[in-house]
Symmetry: C2
Subunit: 148 residues, 2 copies
């Protein structure tokens, strides 16, 4: 039996929690093909001083080189920013499952306009963890989304 979207999101959430426990931005992501996770990651701004390793980017990087992404789904605890949305479009990832888009969002229509299926789970755990980080670390959050 293939795992459900909720089960893959639970793994993305586990990676977000790991990042939070390290003092980092709690955004996690997994990339799935044929019901199996081929890569996972989380935001690395604090941990590795990386401006580009958002959760989705770290996940795709960790999956390594792929001949195609047309048969994959990416899961992310937080709605993708324009960097990550552009990456999803460029790499032709056809489906994105989003934990929540309350704390950040706005690129879902762009993704859909490019033919990407976007599913928003409205997961209260993802939203609560992200909100907690933003309250604790507003300047790091502002830096991460270039709202400074």
């Amino acid at each position: 039996m293939l795992a459900s979207d909720a089960e893959f999101m639970a793994e993305a959430y586990r990676l977000a929690e790991k990042s939070f426990s390290e003092g980092g931005l709690p955004i996690g992501s997994v990339l799935v093909r044929d019901g199996k996770i081929i890569g996972g990651g989380h935001n690395q701004r604090i941990q590795r001083g990386s401006p580009i390793l958002h959760g989705e980017m770290d996940c795709i990087e960790n999956a390594g080189r792929q001949s195609t992404y047309r048969d994959t789904t990416i899961y992310t605890t937080l709605s993708p920013c324009m960097m990550c949305s552009g990456t999803i479009v460029q790499f032709k990832i056809p489906r994105v499952v989003v934990g929540e888009n309350v704390n950040f969002g706005g690129n879902e229509d762009f993704l859909r306009s490019q033919g990407v299926e976007v599913v928003v789970l409205n997961d209260p755990k993802c939203a609560a963890l992200m909100r907690r980080y933003i309250e604790l670390h507003p300047s790091e959050w502002g830096e991460d989304i270039a709202e400074t």
Copy 2:
């Protein structure tokens, strides 16, 4: 005296040549603030097995965390793909100088629609080096732009 766009592009080209000499995709990039290069990089798909480190992404990563990009210009030997274009928009980089858009292009209008100034230099050296790589390594090039 501030260096000119052509001088910064020459440094991006030097990084593209370095990548070519390593067997990698010859796309180089520099990020500039106040007439000084604050980061440089090149495509790392072959050298580091990285799907996300296009020239622009490697450059931004090497520049490290920044409080703002609103006062920067990014130079790239090849017109940015949608990943790199999305990153430029997300990070609010206001100006992009492109070496050439003959071997790859198409996102200039998207960038302009988001308020980014795009300058295309039509540099024959950038175009010739990229064309040479594509002729030698068509499958790696196809993988890099997800045209497989």
